[in-house]
């Protein structure tokens, strides 16, 4: 069984924008659990000698890691899929109590035209659970929105010692279909 991404042809390379905004905000650490929607940022970060890339076994590891990186004086960001937000909930207490900057970039599943219904419960609960844990959220559904919204989320994370998240909607990422 093969899965193929049917991306919408876009004038704006929003995946490249994600990496560029992070770079412009002096992000030195990318902690991630992979997703196709993050592949450009991950590839670029892995190739960037000024960035440390950390592949995680589960998303909440990234919260501890980025807390430590901030204690040591450097900025980072967490790249994850919406399903991984569920794994982070209890660990977000660390951010709330210590108030270190936490920027999360989240690719959505169970959000729009989802072929796998098992993604829907966490996808539908992603933004509400983040907000319940004190994370400021925005969502991008078109390529043009990604850069300004991520810039805004990064600004408010690093200047406000806040937890912020940009949700990248499935309409932006493109429909994933079963292919025989």
């Amino acid at each position: 069984m093969n899965l193929a991404l049917q991306g919408n042809p876009a004038q704006v390379d929003w995946q490249e924008d994600v990496y560029r905004v992070l770079k412009n905000h002096d992000v030195k650490h990318i902690a991630y659990v992979p997703d196709a929607g993050h592949s450009t940022a991950i590839r670029r970060a892995e190739a960037d000698n000024e960035m440390t890339s950390i592949v995680l076994t589960t998303e909440e590891e990234g919260i501890g890691y980025l807390a430590g990186a901030w204690l040591g004086g450097q900025r980072g960001a967490l790249l994850l899929q919406s399903s991984g937000v569920g794994n982070c909930i209890n660990t977000l207490a660390l951010q709330q109590m210590a108030r270190f900057p936490l920027l999360m970039v989240i690719t959505m599943r169970g959000d729009w035209a989802e072929f796998n219904g098992w993604q829907n419960p966490m996808g539908q609960a992603t933004e509400a659970t983040l907000r319940a844990m004190g994370v400021l959220t925005w969502r991008a559904d078109t390529p043009e929105e990604v850069e300004p919204l991520l810039h805004g989320a990064a600004t408010m994370a690093y200047n406000g010692d806040s937890a912020t998240a940009l949700l990248l909607g499935q309409r932006l990422i493109g429909e994933k279909k079963w292919v025989k």
Binding site: K28, L56, Y65, G68, T91, M97, N159
Partner: protein, 198 residues
């Protein structure tokens, strides 16, 4: 796993006192619960970062510090239960393999904070073997105090990522509470690293 291999005979406070002796430029992260109390009992310090929640995160916080303060030595002191909740973190840390990082697991084989229920470590899961399988340069089990002294000396040698399980008595000692203001502990630590609050 029927065989019970719970903990050991070492006194946890004596172990932590020994580990922190002459601590020089050592940066210390503590897992929530008794490990935090043990480190506080040995003396509060600007270079201590105490966790009060986010169980399983201590070693990852240590990794973040080790990566950003490569000239300093990082020691994570945590319990077997706390590290078990961060089981996967051992794989993540092994891939980075910072040579300035040591994880000391105070292993009493029990969940001490919640009524001394036997933990996975107490039922036969040896975390040092897990770390060894993940590729830690040094992974050992320590049962005597001279082994703790050897570990203390190894922290400053920086010759590879290290995890040691230290077999301690399963007992709840009087609590010595570290500061609970997370923002205060964060800023205190960062200022000791030369960084100002935002």
């Amino acid at each position: 796993m029927g065989e019970v291999k719970a903990g050991g005979h070492l006194d946890r406070r004596a172990v932590v006192n020994k580990l922190l002796e002459g601590r020089d430029d050592l940066l210390v992260v503590t897992g929530l619960g008794s490990a935090s109390y043990d480190v506080m009992a040995a003396g509060d310090h600007d270079h201590n970062y105490y966790l009060w929640a986010a169980m399983g995160s201590a070693a990852m916080v240590g990794l973040g510090i080790a990566e950003t303060q490569p000239e300093k030595h990082v020691l994570v002191i945590t319990g077997d239960g706390e590290q078990l909740m961060g089981f996967g973190a051992l794989a993540t840390i092994a891939l980075r393999a910072p040579n300035n990082m040591t994880i000391a697991v105070l292993d009493n084989g029990h969940f001490g904070e919640t009524g001394m229920q036997e933990s996975h470590a107490g039922r036969g899961i040896e975390l040092s073997k897990v770390a060894g399988a993940c590729g830690f340069a040094h992974a050992s089990k320590i049962t005597e105090l001279d082994g703790v002294e050897a570990l203390r000396e190894a922290i400053y040698r920086r010759d590879g990522l290290t995890l040691a399980t230290i077999k301690i008595k399963a007992e709840n000692l009087p609590r010595v509470l570290p500061p609970r203001d997370g923002v205060h502990i964060k800023n205190r630590f960062r200022m000791a690293m030369g960084h100002q609050p935002i």
